[in-house]
């Protein structure tokens, strides 16, 4: 079997895909979208390892969500201070260590879904039947199966409950007596 000749200029130490110094590669890949990043993991073993680490996803996150306009001081964080983002994460804990990837994908996916056009999703507008005056207080309980909302109009002293998914408001009979102003 004849081996193809190894080109003399191929010096493993200077390739940017070198495993020793991945910062350049990480910075380059951080501009990609999450789907493209997952595709990039198929390029080579090195890429696969890189994409499966959290460093790259963290960098991609930082690229996608720009830093706040005010500089925060760092407290010895591994990344530069501008790279720290404060938020509540969306994904519950999982056993794998790539939480950043999950967070990034989940967040971008949800934001994209949220930002799509008006034909998506369900939007219901219905009268609250709290009388002629506007609703001033509201409480709602969201469960996986359904939602229940209660709304009140203080001005009109009316409290109603409703099921927002169907848009039906139930008038709750209420009989608040008048206060007595004892002075």
């Amino acid at each position: 079997m004849v081996r193809p000749p190894i080109s003399p200029c191929r010096n493993r130490q200077t390739l940017p895909t070198d495993g020793r110094n991945p910062e350049v590669l990480i910075h380059t890949l951080s501009f990609l979208e999450p789907q493209a990043l997952l595709g990039a993991s198929l390029v080579s073993k090195r890429f696969h390892a890189l994409v499966n680490s959290s460093q790259l996803w963290r960098a991609a996150f930082v690229q996608f969500f720009p830093p706040p306009h005010v500089q925060l001081d760092g407290h010895g964080s591994p990344l530069s201070p501008q790279d720290r983002r404060y938020f509540t994460r969306l994904c519950p804990w999982d056993a794998t260590e790539n939480a950043w990837m999950k967070e990034h994908m989940q967040r971008t996916r949800l934001l994209r879904r949220l930002g799509r056009g008006t034909h998506r999703g369900l939007q219901v507008t219905y009268p609250a039947r709290t009388g002629r005056l506007s609703v001033s207080h509201m409480a709602a309980r969201f469960t996986p199966t359904g939602i229940r909302a209660v709304h009140a109009s203080l001005e009109a002293e009316v409290v109603t409950a409703s099921d927002p998914t169907t848009g039906i408001a139930i008038f709750l009979h209420l009989d608040f007596p008048r206060p007595c102003l004892t002075l």
């Binding site: 002629r132 009109a156 409290v159 007595c180």
Partner: protein, 829 residues
């Protein structure tokens, strides 16, 4: 004096309303309005600041505290609580025994003062119900024993529980606290996720803020015994004004008994004092304090909205208090002096203006209902104190009022460190919790109210101010409501605009507009006599987001309408993309084992195939609709090259075959001067024919033009010299004519005219030339070819330039023959 007030007209003063004509009294923002009952026109009212003074017909002046929206709380199990914000107001709790019973018992909590007794002091004199809370979950009731908490305007907090007896719920009074005598309690918050586990960790479960901005919190359960677990955040202690010294002069040198007695007397005084007086004694006595409590991270945000008057005293402020070291941590405790100058030390009495601490502030007053003040001061318990860290959340000064605020209430944000299995340092987002305020200029400021260390404070110094994480400028003139989840910040404005924004600023625009202000589906607003002037039916008043941020659901109340959105509908139309990324969304990158890779390849191929087919279909459809899309232009490169090659090849073949025939004819005729023109002519004819067949009409025209021009030049040349040699030429021509005509006719059968023309023209060159000269313009050629050809024809060596020059000559001659044929008959005919 009649006590039952009927409905009356309402007037607006400031930004809110108070309806005493109806059964509830409340405000919407700091100001208030009044409904003057028709039957009580004797009442006049004066409003000073945020206090109402009622002057009745008999001249007595009663003051009524201003009212605020805390006096109502809605419980989604169809129980509701509404507090009366009038003197000696009661609190109505509407409990439904069963979910399907709507008309249920209406219970009310009396104010504790028997009517008619003006100075009963059980809960202060003429207390108003200023804040209420009702439990939203059963677990809170069970673990704390408190279902309803009511705070009143004299500093009392009462706790009630719900008992289920005889097929209905009843309220049972559990306990009462007086945490700040004389000072109204502005807001009360209870931990909704309180569990026995948190109780074991000794976390506070109740937080209250009073009108002086003091924040109190309670650790012990209400029915746990006499031990009083109230504590105050030291940095929020009250600051007395100069008037304080006059009212409560510092008395020194009293014995403990005397002190206690004086203490009690003073408290009694406070309890009965007019609110206006109370306001003068301490600074910053206002009713628009609000708090948001991050129970899990042990943060409290306290702020005042400001009434927009713009004075220096009236600036809105936001402070975040973080429980740095909890009690009984074992760590040595030091006196935490507040960074903002408010005193921190604990002194005995609330009335001592000057204490032994560095700053002149008074101690917190904390007591149960029976224990006198000051006895629970913590001098002896140095190690038991909590430490709080204060950070001012900075607000730019370009606005004057905070009009809305909200905190992220998603499930993951409410988990404490112990409950959260994933709590560690490198977690994405550093476990922040978002808090947002909206202003009256349409801006929203988003903060992270957990300290930057992620809750694990290891830094010794902390910054006194924290800037907002994000500033959002919306299009609404005023923000009336806010909702925050981990994913988005949703704002509702007073023009009805509801928009969702990304707190991490991936875009600077709104992510989604959930309700635009120009919505056509809004029916007409109600204009009735009862509709108050200030009831803005376009404004978005309440906004609630689903605590699970991944479901993208929410409800907003706009005027009398409620709008619900659910944007997480799964798309069934589009087939799930089977990219590798989609498959591995949960589990990381696609594995490198053989099967997965093959699958990836297969999927990619399929996708490409589909795409190509789609393109072809599209192209076909376009074609049939609009005609062939490709004319000459869309020849791509290869095709153009091939075309050019073909053309040139044909030309070459034609040319080479014509040359072969010329050579053959020359050789065949044997004569030097005779047959060459014929051969050439014949070949010209051939070539002409072949060329004409092969080339396009323009080229044929071009060639014709060339022929004519050259022929004319040749004619001019040939004319003077031909006289001598005409005879021989004719003869030769005659002989050659036969041959040439044979030659010419055969191959040039397609072009008989040119063939004949060539032979005829050849036979009678002089005549032609004689006749033709005039008809032709002299075209000056660089005509070496022509002359060369002619000289060659004359007898010189024709090997050089033989082919081309003779060709040109032949072309010319044939053209001339054509013309002469048209003009007249030659003699050779």
């Amino acid at each position: 004096m009649s006590n039952s007030l009927s409905q009356g007209k309402s007037r607006g003063v400031g930004k809110a309303r108070v309806l005493i004509g109806c059964s509830t009294v409340y405000t919407i923002t700091g100001g208030f309005a009044f409904t003057i009952p028709m039957s009580q026109l004797r009442w006049t009212w004066v409003s000073i600041g945020s206090w109402i003074y009622l002057k009745s017909w008999d001249g007595k002046v009663y003051s009524v505290c201003s009212l605020f929206e805390n006096a109502s709380n809605v419980f989604e199990k169809k129980n509701r609580i509404m507090g009366e914000n009038v003197p000696n107001g009661r609190c109505y709790v509407h409990l439904s025994p069963y979910p399907h019973f709507y008309a249920a018992a209406l219970d009310y909590i009396p104010s504790g003062n028997a009517p008619g007794l003006a100075n009963s002091t059980k809960y202060g004199s003429k207390p108003l119900v200023t804040c209420v809370w009702i439990a939203k979950k059963r677990s809170v009731c069970d673990s704390t024993g408190a279902a309803v908490v009511v705070g009143n305007s004299r500093g009392f907090i009462r706790v009630f529980s719900i008992k289920f007896e005889k097929c209905r719920y009843t309220l049972a009074h559990v306990t009462s606290y007086c945490i700040s005598p004389g000072i109204p309690i502005v807001q009360v918050k209870v931990d909704q996720d309180f569990l026995p586990r948190r109780l074991r960790q000794k976390r506070p479960w109740l937080v209250a803020i009073n009108a002086l901005g003091e924040v109190y919190y309670l650790r012990d359960l209400p029915n746990s015994g006499a031990t009083d677990g109230w504590a105050m955040i030291p940095q929020t202690a009250r600051i007395p004004t100069d008037v304080h010294k006059d009212v409560f002069p510092v008395l020194a040198g009293l014995s403990p008994d005397e002190e206690k007695e004086m203490h009690d007397r003073r408290i009694g005084l406070l309890m009965n004092m007019d609110y206006s007086k109370v306001k003068e004694i301490w600074e910053e006595c206002r009713m628009d304090w609000f708090i948001e409590v991050d129970w899990a991270g042990q943060n409290i945000v306290a702020g005042s909205r400001s009434t927009g008057s713009g004075t220096a005293r009236d600036m809105p402020r936001l402070k975040r208090y973080h429980l740095w070291k909890a009690k009984n941590d074992g760590a040595p405790c030091r006196i935490a002096h507040g960074q903002d100058g408010r005193g921190a030390s604990w002194s005995k009495s609330v009335f001592n203006a000057a204490t032994d601490s560095s700053s002149s502030s008074s101690s917190p007053s904390q007591s149960g209902i029976t224990t006198p003040l000051g006895e629970l001061s913590e001098d002896g318990k140095e190690g038991q104190r909590d430490e709080w860290m204060v950070t001012a959340l900075s607000l730019p000064n370009t606005f004057t009022q905070i009009t809305a605020h909200s905190m992220d209430n998603s499930r993951l944000a409410r988990l404490t460190a112990a409950e959260d299995p994933a709590f560690r340092d490198g977690v994405p987002g550093a476990n922040g919790r978002l808090f947002a305020v909206g202003t009256n200029t349409g801006s929203v400021f988003v903060y992270n109210i957990r300290p930057a260390g992620g809750g694990l404070l290891d830094d010794s110094e902390h910054r006194p101010t924290a800037p907002p994480l994000r500033t959002i400028h919306t299009d609404s003139p005023r923000i009336t409501t806010l909702g925050v989840s981990s994913l988005v910040v949703v704002h509702g404005g007073n023009d009805g605009l509801v928009q969702a924004w990304d707190p991490l600023a991936s875009t600077n625009l709104a992510v989604r507009t959930l309700h635009s202000r120009h919505s056509r589906r809004r029916p007409g607003q109600h204009h009735g006599a009862e509709a108050a002037a200030e009831d803005d039916q376009f404004a978005a008043r309440c906004l609630i987001l689903d605590p699970d941020p991944t479901t993208l659901r929410g409800i907003v109340a706009l005027g009398t309408f409620v709008r619900y959105w659910n944007l997480s509908a799964t798309d069934t139309k589009k087939a799930r993309k089977t990219w590798a990324g989609a498959r591995s969304r949960g589990g990381g990158t696609p594995g490198r084992n053989r099967g997965a890779l093959q699958e990836v390849i297969h999927n990619d191929e399929r996708a490409m195939r589909l795409e190509r087919e789609g393109q072809q279909r599209e192209a076909a459809r376009l074609e049939e609709r609009y005609g062939v899309a490709s004319g000459r232009a869309p020849l791509n490169e290869e095709e153009m090259l091939a075309y050019a090659q073909m053309v040139s090849l044909e030309a070459f073949e034609a040319e080479s075959s014509s040359r072969k025939s010329e050579v053959a004819s020359r050789l065949g005729s044997g004569g030097i001067g005779t047959d060459s023109p014929d051969g050439f002519e014949g070949s010209t004819g051939m070539v002409g024919g072949a060329a004409a067949k092969a080339k396009d009409p323009e080229d044929a025209d071009l060639e014709l033009a060339l022929r004519l021009s050259r022929h004319e030049a040749l004619v001019n040349e040939m004319q003077p010299e031909d006289r001598g040699g005409s005879g021989s030429v004719c003869q030769g021509g005659g002989q050659s004519a036969f041959t040439s005509s044979n030659l010419g006719h055969g191959p040039a059968s397609a072009r008989p005219l040119s063939g004949k023309a060539s032979s005829d023209s050849h036979r009678s060159p002089p005549n032609r030339k004689a006749t033709k000269k005039k008809g032709w313009e002299k075209v000056s050629l660089d005509g070496d070819e022509g002359y060369g050809a002619y000289s060659a024809w004359r007898g010189e060596d024709k090997r050089e330039h033989e082919l081309e020059d003779d060709l040109e000559l032949a072309i010319r001659l044939s053209l001339q023959e054509q013309v002469s044929q048209g003009k007249g008959k030659g003699p050779a005919q």
